[in-house]
């Protein structure tokens, strides 16, 4: 229920920001749109911790500036690699282990890897093993030092590596895998 209210507030604010009109007709249309969207999202069963991860909110504000800085620095280094008269790149594929307990956290981590130029997540296994393509050795090291992995896990709310009890403390319908049980493919992210 909290997620539905939060999503409703978020959608209403988005409507007000994007329309910028406060006459009865646009406001009424906005209310109808918000309710329709909420109803559809409820029918699709996506209003939960996964579909609307508000629990990450405050910590995401700490993570994003750091990610932004990483994006800037890696952009500059990739730009240098590209403009060299003779290309000095070492394209390679490697695997890395993601330590986020939930699928939202892993998605955030995989997206962060892809957003950072020089590294692209090309496959995710259900047990949290990512296959990553790196353009240079330096880009590979930036993933293998696991700083981003730890920060992503911290954004989810756990210490790194997330202790299992922190996961059990907040049971959800589709419970994220704990570290001491064998991971079960949920089939949700791998159609």
């Amino acid at each position: 229920m909290m997620h539905a209210i939060s999503l409703g507030v978020f959608l209403s604010v988005l409507w007000l920001l994007l329309s910028g009109m406060f006459e009865p007709l646009p406001l009424g249309l906005g209310a109808i749109s918000v309710l329709l969207t909420l109803w559809l999202a409820h029918r699709m069963d996506v209003i939960d911790r996964e579909g609307h991860p508000i629990h990450m909110g405050p910590r995401a504000l700490l993570y994003w500036p750091w990610l932004l800085w990483k994006i800037i620095t890696s952009n500059v280094s990739v730009a240098f690699a590209i403009w060299r008269p003779r290309l000095k790149i070492q394209p390679q594929v490697f695997t890395t282990q993601a330590s986020q307990p939930s699928e939202v956290g892993r998605t955030a981590y995989a997206n962060s890897i892809t957003l950072t130029p020089g590294t692209v997540t090309i496959a995710m296994a259900p047990d949290g093993t990512f296959t990553v393509h790196a353009l240079t050795d330096a880009a590979r090291r930036s993933v293998e030092n696991r700083i981003m992995d730890r920060r992503c896990a911290a954004m989810e709310g756990g210490k790194s590596p997330t202790p299992p009890e922190a996961v059990r403390a907040e049971p959800t319908l589709d419970a994220p895998e704990t570290t001491d049980t064998p991971p079960v493919p949920s089939g949700k992210e791998h159609p």
């Binding site: 952009n75 730009a79 590209i82 393509h133």
Partner: protein, 131 residues
Amino acid sequence: MMEAVLQTMAGPLTVADWISWFCIGSGVFFAFTGAVAILRLPGVFSRMHGAGMIDTMGLGLILTGLMVQAEEPIVIVKLALILAFVFFTSPTTTFALARAAIHGGVDPAADPTPKADPAPAQPEETDPSRT
């Protein structure tokens, strides 16, 4: 000193204009670099790095430069929303592209390196009959 810096051939430029020039100029540079990367790098997966560059630094800097020029706060909010949506969707599409490439039989580990013969990379870019 400050006055001299702000004086240009086209007349005086405000500080906001200078920030815009810097941001949009560097944004264009990164977008262009990304385009060069797509042309220059070998193989499907290496080229994705160039595309990621356009989505992050290219778009980010250009939109930041535009935000400085905004006369109403609402414009800044809208530009920031565009940026946020692209930052969420761009990795997703890149992931879909990578999945499609793997599904289509491209082996990421055997993606051509610059030392390798560029011939294997040819069919994927010069095959107009398929498009």
